[in-house]
Subunit: 159 residues, 2 copies
């Protein structure tokens, strides 16, 4: 089954691809279990103070990220596609129940493929326009999403 996201558009999308040495099943669990996700989802010393996951299409994906200064940043969206151990797609353009969101920013896809040594991990961020892609890039997409993959792998190995 091909991904509904289609091929990334370099002008509008951001892609992070990594080979990691943990199995797809544990990556899936890390992404879909609040008590796991909170431990690695944002680059430290930022923290995730709240995480709510209703793992069904149209279901809630909500996090609250907290800066080292104590400012909190809520994120609310919903899941669009759930293929266990293969593909997880969610967006902040739709609130839970598919309600259009007031401030859409991006749709994200996590694609997992088993390899001989673990997982080929691909994260894709899909934006409405070039300005959205640029903003996300300047917010540190590549460093940020790369750092949290390292954090996730370390967390999986330690648990």
């Amino acid at each position: 089954m091909t991904s509904p996201l289609g091929m990334p558009d370099p002008k509008l999308d951001l892609v992070l691809e990594r080979e990691i040495d943990v199995p797809v099943e544990l990556v899936w669990k890390a992404w879909t279990t609040p008590d796991h996700l909170k431990n690695w989802f944002v680059p430290k010393p930022w923290t995730v103070t709240e995480c709510e996951i209703d793992l069904r299409v149209g279901g809630t994906f909500r996090t609250v990220m907290r800066s080292p200064e104590g400012d909190e940043f809520p994120n609310l969206g919903c899941y669009l596609e759930i293929v266990p151990n293969q593909r997880l797609i969610f967006t902040d353009a739709l609130l839970p129940g598919f309600r259009p969101a007031p401030k859409p920013f991006f749709t994200a896809g996590l694609l997992l493929e088993p390899t001989a040594t673990g997982t080929r991990y691909t994260a894709i961020a899909v934006h409405a326009d070039e300005a959205g892609r640029e903003t996300h890039e300047q917010m540190g997409f590549h460093d940020g999403w790369g750092t949290v993959v390292d954090q996730m792998v370390a967390y999986i190995k330690a648990n």
Copy 2:
């Protein structure tokens, strides 16, 4: 399987419910086949000049509506959930491939249930805020969506 749309919110959503005397299978076909949909989807004398349907999650739902004066109004969105003969959900908040749209307006759900004499037909329009609901109401949601149900039933019976 419950609908991902959940219960309608009267402040934000619009609902049209009708009992019609044509079977769910033909309603489903009328909604998912471009050559059928073009015949009834907008209140006459408006017309649908183009219709593109890629009936998969994240797939294109595109129409062009033409006013009696000849002005054309394109609509582009994608499907979110497809349960044949039961439920069709689409949105203009995401373009095909789940890309956030520049001007989101609403998510729509078509719910079909077989009855002794035909179909219980429910259409739900889900908006980001009260202003969106009000705009849609003033655009003539109830009359418009009601009229096109009549047109659809007449079209189904004639074909």
